[in-house]
Symmetry: C2
Subunit: 427 residues, 2 copies
């Protein structure tokens, strides 16, 4: 660690630019969980119903393992493969127009406005910009939330490309326990593209919404005496009833991904945590172990349970940009990534009403923008993203703890900033 810091410092000096790895304190953050003991009012416990809501979220996004049981994603034992640094201090001054108000904003202003915890920019595989704030530093790990879905989608596409999984197979064939429920006659492709017809409501304002039963089933914390509901992802998935027809429209429902996780585990004999370690984390020169939150029987939360380091997520983004090759070695099949970047049908997507992503689509648990640059992304609530622009040869990873879960709240100050940076790099 000390050596690594020195190495970075030396790099910075070499290129004559300071401020590559910046760390600062966000003004919007209270001092949670500091002190021995932390003062009353600053303690966050897993028994707090609001531990994953703003403002406690600003601490919890970096410390989920301190609240919940987890499963490691080993990086293996080999040396990390460090990035090259080519810091560009002009980036903070890049200006763009907010897509909501039309006002001009700088990249640096957007960094703050989006409650960013960490942001890294790669161009042609080299680090141009790297900055940490709030609860995060280079040794920390951040919840990537629904970006987990995209990582799981990538693993599914790898298995499809290798012939281990058939995208046309029905979930009920792949996992017989799913046969009787709504998933039974959905194809793996429909599940991966979230065009399944499932009776499942994620409306948090409705106390009878399905998501509450799902959350309780997913929790690894002990159940109250007499609890009779499902208490694992696998048990819960079997209770889902059909609603509408599979294949008709895109509807973003997290439970699809837990079904994918089960299908992968059954097909490979490995949990998605083990498979992710073997197939990706141990191969990309990752710096840090990652981890999944799990349910009470150790099942990793495929729909959103991964936490990892900023640079390691950037390594995944670069692997996508490079179509699966690293240092001349094809780590994962090119076809796996081509299937994702081909995108899905924007007409199916349009009905879902994502106003900040016009012309978008959702394929294999990735978001496609279908813009001139062919950009696509992994996205998670509260502002998480891996944004990949193949034309600009740019990868951005941002971790954040925006007060509003939905990314529509930060897209107007994010997506135009990414495009402005792409334009800058292309000029």
């Amino acid at each position: 660690m000390l050596k690594n810091r020195l190495w970075i410092a030396a790099t910075v000096i070499t290129v004559g630019i300071s401020g590559v790895v910046m760390a600062d304190t966000r003004q919007d953050q209270a001092a949670w969980m500091e002190g021995f003991p932390p003062p009353q009012g600053s303690i966050i416990r897993n028994s707090d119903r609001d531990f994953f809501s703003f403002p406690k979220l600003t601490w919890s996004v970096c410390h989920l393992r301190q609240l919940l049981p987890t499963k490691a994603v080993s990086r293996g034992l080999a040396a990390p493969v460090p990035f090259e640094y080519r810091p560009d201090r002009n980036i903070d001054q890049i200006e763009f127009r907010r897509s909501d108000t039309g006002e001009t904003m700088s990249w640096a202003e957007a960094y703050t406005a989006n409650h960013t915890d960490g942001l890294i920019v790669l161009h042609k595989g080299k680090v141009l910009y790297e900055r940490y704030s709030g609860c995060l530093d280079e040794l920390g790990k951040h919840a990537i939330m629904s970006m987990t879905k995209s990582i799981v989608g990538l693993m599914a596409e790898i298995l499809i490309a290798e012939g281990v999984l058939d995208e046309h197979a029905l979930a009920g064939e792949l996992v017989p326990e799913l046969k009787a429920g709504a998933f039974g006659n959905a194809t793996l492709r429909q599940i991966l593209n979230m065009t399944t017809g499932l009776k499942y409501s994620e409306d948090y304002t409705d106390p009878k919404a399905d998501v509450w039963v799902y959350n309780e089933a997913a929790s690894p914390l002990p159940k109250p005496p007499g609890f009779e509901g499902p208490r694992s992802y696998f048990e819960y998935l079997q209770t889902i009833e059909p609603e509408g027809q599979h294949g008709e429209a895109f509807a973003y429902k997290t439970i699809n991904v837990d079904a994918v996780g089960w299908i992968i585990a059954r097909a490979t004999g490995k949990s998605i945590a083990e498979l992710l370690s073997e197939r990706i984390w141990q191969k990309i020169g990752a710096e840090q172990e990652a981890y999944f939150t799990i349910d009470s029987i150790g099942t990793p939360f495929a729909g959103g349970g991964l936490s990892g380091g900023l640079r390691d997520l950037a390594r995944i983004g670069q692997l996508m940009l490079d179509e699966g090759s690293l240092n001349g070695e094809q780590l994962i099949p090119k076809d796996a990534i081509k299937s994702i970047t081909a995108g899905a049908n924007p007409e199916d997507f349009a009905k879902a009403g994502y106003d900040t992503i016009p012309n978008g689509s959702y394929k294999s648990l990735w978001w496609l923008f279908h813009n001139d640059n062919g950009a696509y992304a992994a996205r998670g609530v509260h502002g998480q993203t891996i944004y990949i622009d193949p034309t600009a040869q740019m990868v951005i990873v941002r971790f954040a703890s925006h007060p509003t879960p939905g990314n529509a709240a930060n897209d107007p100050t994010s997506l135009p900033a990414y495009q402005a940076l792409a334009d800058y790099l292309l000029n």
Copy 2:
């Protein structure tokens, strides 16, 4: 990881001896938590009262983080420093006499008899023997239980050697919250040597024993409604009442170490997890992140909460043997280790009745054998040990899941085996 395996294989081939890193399946183990889902009867949940008793223990020792919230001990981001390998396949045939029955036993027989999960032997810093079983492999981490105490003792001795802590200071001066209770007028030295007079019973057969209140205070899992007891280590430590006089006799009470953890945190502004990362884990070329179990406010369990990789614990042992230097760099003060190896008064120790360690003493949370070789050890229930023999220049780390917690059950088939190996290396 792949590279590492190849590297080891290459080493083995180079020296012309197979079987350095062996992995095998223990006959005494059921298949816990395997399958998607695991079959009924093989599931281990944190709501199971027996999750840390044999036989479930055989899985739980490698998977505590899947049951409980944890805090990372970062290894930093630098490359691991690999060991050199000089495998010696004669070791398995070394014979010794059991200290209980007097029967002859081989090293290989003892490996199995002791329910070993992993064992590594270093001689002059090079690996002679390394073997994994049961739930453990080279990418896994194992609960080191009360060996955590010794690691905490080492950190305390570092701070004493550096003048950050005064061994003669009273706990009530170092942590004012401890002033009113039994710890208040105990010196740091008395606490480190466990010669405090504390009213605290660890008798698990007594349902009113203090250990049950302690366990509940220590648990990071949510409390039942209406719970009014202490719910952190810090709260619990303040409730301890005196019994007898400090400084009169050695009495092994885990809570002493939680007091040391608090003293260290207050003095340094860092939890023992952070300090261990900064001062040791990031400096010894560790291969893997380690982790602590924690209480509900994030306090690492100083008395027994650390889990780590077999080789990384061997790196600690070697650092002790080399009096704090690694590759010519003095990582920690020599005096810190000299204070430990000087030992304490065997007369104080004798009263405690550890029949398998005659003439022993307990100093700074380490066990001294006061034998001809000057051997000393970190020890944890169910067979955990770091055994350091300065005369034979030998370090042994063993992880195990012996059915019986107390090491008196495995010492007769362990300590003579270590001595026999030392004799072999010295001849």
